[in-house]
Subunit: 368 residues, 2 copies
Amino acid sequence: MVSPVEQAQALTPAAVEAAYALIRPYVHRTPLLTCRTLDTIASTPQSPESLVGTPFEGQTPARPRFRFFFKCENLQRIGAFKARGAFHALLRLIEERGEDEVKRRGVITHSSGNHAQALALAASTLHVPAYIVMPHISTSSKIAGTRSYGAEIIFSGSTSVEREAVVAEIQAKTNAILVPPYDDFNIICGQGTTGLELEAQYTEQVGSRALDAVITPVGGGGLNSGVATFFSDKSTRVFGAEPIFEGADDCRRGLQAGERVAKVSTLTIADGLRTPVGLLNWQVISNKRKVEGVFAVTEEQIMAAMRLVFERMKVVVEPSAVVGLAVCLFDEGFRRRVEQEGGDNGWDVAVVFSGGNTTLEAVAKLFG
Amino acid sequence: MVSPVEQAQALTPAAVEAAYALIRPYVHRTPLLTCRTLDTIASTPQSPESLVGTPFEGQTPARPRFRFFFKCENLQRIGAFKARGAFHALLRLIEERGEDEVKRRGVITHSSGNHAQALALAASTLHVPAYIVMPHISTSSKIAGTRSYGAEIIFSGSTSVEREAVVAEIQAKTNAILVPPYDDFNIICGQGTTGLELEAQYTEQVGSRALDAVITPVGGGGLNSGVATFFSDKSTRVFGAEPIFEGADDCRRGLQAGERVAKVSTLTIADGLRTPVGLLNWQVISNKRKVEGVFAVTEEQIMAAMRLVFERMKVVVEPSAVVGLAVCLFDEGFRRRVEQEGGDNGWDVAVVFSGGNTTLEAVAKLFG
């Protein structure tokens, strides 16, 4: 086995470029949208009252200037960026082990979310059997979504011990190859293509200026570490965003303590971000030259950001998708930095909307 | 006064082109989106059970083939196509009466919906005072939206008699010029630019084929009659769509009876379509060579279409916006026609999403 430290050294912009060449025929080039209304709202200082009870109480609210570029991975295939990593991991498996072996053995993962659907889609597209272990409490729409791509679903209990036991059982029977959701070299390179694509689109739209910053959600860290890998030799700063609820800000806490937090138990509404950051992902994200900081937001701030995206941009996003925007809108530490470093010009910030897989019922439950 | 019949004769494609030249700097060229998932769903026959209780019970479900092109006027300024008509009407007023007179007198309308915000935006952009009479029961988000464009809001009772009395009172004081929401030559030409734009975008995307059909919602009929005016010298067929609830299908009933229905009282969830079709609009829509048919859908069908757009396309639309899609999905008469005339090639159908002005609370109320 190659250690995470050694693997991290191989995570280079060139590896992301190679991933893109491979997956390009299989994924959407999702739009990079602008919204002047959201620029104006984020560029307006918060009220002094809204800072009461925060570390910034009593200070003059920051006056940052934002121009946003929203990378709409909610419009990606299966409704989330996860399609990129799943196609890349599977295409590499076929390249490395040969089509016959991969088709004979099949692939397996355990997930109740977007990775399950992504792997199911990639497998059906490439004619590989897929086994998806899902907790039996998964919502019926997610089960139906995964099944609609032709994957075989095996139900398990909802703890990770119960899930992994079922995975081992299926692997013993089928010899299926595990495709992990985020803590994996090829998954990280695949998700990193989000950064490559948004940078190209930004240049098409804006011209020769360099993007000042990118902010993405951090759950297991596949997206954030992939995007940071792509930008690691460029001037664009990369930031991460997490929910704070019930300790979901494990990455931020780990960075403060100088050690990865390995366990998280949270029921944040940002359900894609309930997992701890992975080992390989941590190697990238904890490197200050790659990721400059990770910020965290409250459930109320996530809901306020969702409302703006829904009502002003008319775009459907899942709660996990808007934590980066919520940081830009509400985190005074981040806003102060944009004010100080961006000055009168402000910053051009790419905000990755990671996914849009929610239902009208789920929205009704949150906002009803 | 010129009669509606005479005015209708002047409603030509050239009049829509002239409108477009005038408003182009002020409105968004909204995207024309495709969605393979929705194509597949609409191109799948309905189940025989779903036809029980309809006039098509017992018949073999139609096998139409659809390729959709969604004209996203929910992404238009103020969140609806109404911006087109309002800018056009106001720019023409200035052209015809001079800037001084229009700025001195101002403009007035009564509306609780998208026309109010559209006129407020056009007036503030062109530095003309605007008076908007709104029922005091209007939702606070609509009042705030209209006020944010700098218009003066005057509250009234909610019946049309009460509203018109307040308009007359303000006009007596200010001499403000009335800009009606739909029954007006310049408004119709402005809304018709939606058709002009989508045809150009369709040609860019698809090449030299002609679009088979366009379907738009019909409330007062400004959008539908404008679009039909633009296509009146082309092979593209134009259709209208209405809600059926509590007689909101006034246009369809009028066509059947051979006489416009002048009064409607409905609380359909498609709140932009509660008005009867206007006199001038009726001149166009009742002309079979311009509008080939108007279809109507139930509240449940509107909600099912909203759900698909929200969950599959990840796009926020208001209920009024999806009646055209609901016709394509559920109306067996329309579907049979597409099967018969489109054959194996099917039809390329442009569906106009008229607006996206809804709130998370409103969605929660519908789907909670």
